[in-house]
Symmetry: C2
Subunit: 300 residues, 2 copies
């Protein structure tokens, strides 16, 4: 017992029941503890709160005042704790997500409506940007990132495999022909995704074999959608995330080039701080995205 809080709850319980033994039973403490707690409280306040006899417990004027306030205070306290507990355990509040814009991860945005529909009390704050964000410092719940992660304070969970593949439009291939080797790419119009270090240095692998290509071409952009649009418009060969082009491949709007080759697998990761207490909303979002990315991509 003791400590301002226990003192207060002891006093309130005694005042409520006009009995020390009753209060002790309720609080699952020994009578002596309750008695001491109230005595300590009175000593600290320098005021007598309860006028007690072996046969009766009555409130003094100060006691009545403190009882009223204290009872409300305890309720608020419990309320605050319950609310926070709730916030962590239930699917409420705001989910702040950071994702690199233009990296293709924004495809995930297409999954968002379904997620939100399933959790009506949840608000999503989806921040897209290429700027490096410090999740902890800026109060993000999680980030969707591609490839290796730098921050060791963070937990990463792989959502889906991910590699980039080469694509071009049927019309473009018709006109310029299909390159047969990675090296041949040098002579074609490459559409370069300007993300990370050495964006124009395409690393391609095929069953252990590895080649590096210096990609040059008419368009360079930090936005996957921009490249995708250009590619559909017969502008050249692009190296784009597999899931970003899946729909176009199935629809026949794009064809794979050098089908055996692709970039090394990097993976799409959900990154979040502190594995200790992961809020339910974060876990739910990650689970949802992971499940959807495992399932065949839905056409847009």
């Amino acid at each position: 017992m003791s400590s301002r809080f226990d003192e207060l709850s002891a006093f309130v319980e005694v005042a409520r029941r006009h009995s020390f033994v009753g209060a002790a039973r309720q609080l699952d403490k020994h009578v002596s503890a309750v008695s001491r707690a109230v005595a300590t409280l009175e000593a600290r306040l320098g005021v007598r709160l309860l006028q007690r006899t072996t046969r009766s417990v009555a409130l003094t004027e100060a006691g009545r005042d403190y009882f009223q306030r204290g009872e409300a205070l305890l309720a608020e306290f419990d309320g605050a704790e319950a609310a926070v507990r709730d916030l962590g355990a239930s699917l409420r509040g705001t989910l702040r997500v950071s994702a690199a814009s233009g990296s293709g991860v924004i495809q995930i945005a297409g999954l968002v409506p379904e997620f939100l529909a399933a959790h009506p009390h949840l608000q999503l704050d989806l921040q897209l940007g290429n700027r490096y964000v410090d999740l902890i410092e800026e109060g993000y719940d999680l980030a969707i990132r591609v490839g290796a992660l730098a921050d060791s304070r963070l937990i990463a969970r792989k959502l889906a495999p991910n590699r980039r593949v080469l694509v071009a439009s049927p019309a473009w291939l018709e006109r310029h022909g299909r390159p047969r080797t990675p090296a041949a790419l040098q002579r074609h119009a490459c559409l370069v995704l300007d993300i990370g270090t050495h964006p124009q240095r395409w690393q391609l692998v095929r069953r252990g074999a590895e080649e590096h290509v210096d990609a040059r071409g008419p368009l360079r952009s930090n936005n996957v959608l921009a490249l995708l649009a250009a590619c559909r418009g017969d502008a050249g060969i692009a190296l784009l995330p597999e899931f970003a082009v899946a729909a176009d491949l199935r629809a026949g709007r794009l064809r794979r080039v050098l089908a055996g080759w692709a970039t090394p697998e990097h993976g799409v990761y959900a990154v979040y701080p502190s594995a200790r207490f992961v809020p339910a909303k974060v876990r739910a979002f990650i689970d949802f995205i992971a499940q959807r990315l495992r399932a065949p991509t839905v056409d847009a």
Copy 2:
């Protein structure tokens, strides 16, 4: 540390300063204690409140929520304690006083206005009555009583000496003559104060000598003022509290009879519960009354 309250204050302080060491300094605790307190709190809530690095401390969403509520809660808590402390230490609130009506103690009522004027924030609830009141049970702050006290749970402080003296009006004495001995009273008209046991059995003492008189007469009342008025109106000899007749004696409206004789000293007492924490208002009232009763009685 520990206990919900300390946990909360530790967390709030850390959240406020974004620093554990700063909070520890402020709270005059060791950093380890603060760290543990927050960790315990998080464990109990099952929610992470602070996202911490060795270099930065940031609030999670749950943390922000709890911080807001918690900060307000602490303020309210301090407020409640301060208010109650104040109520005990300052002269505010209501002072409930019980006094036996008719016993002459109501003379004290004449002192009340001055007392109240000196303490404008104080309200007085002066309950007069002959019914026995349980101070504790009925929430009185103090009672003014004459003579021995029965309740051992109460503290008694003597306010003034008190004995009853015999008085009569000059006109009455002129007409009936002065009795020379107590026994002579039997032949005179006695005005009997009907309080306590054996009211008509007047016990008189004088330097060790003691006599008992069976008082009989035309008037018997449980009210001092009634007897006083009758006495002034030449109705007979009354045995009344000294302080109740002091003004009349000085003004010459009444004269003492058998001046050497008086009842044994009983005293006027202030009676109140619990010597442990006496509210300032109670102490102030008692001090005031005691001082005024020591000083020569003011004319009405």
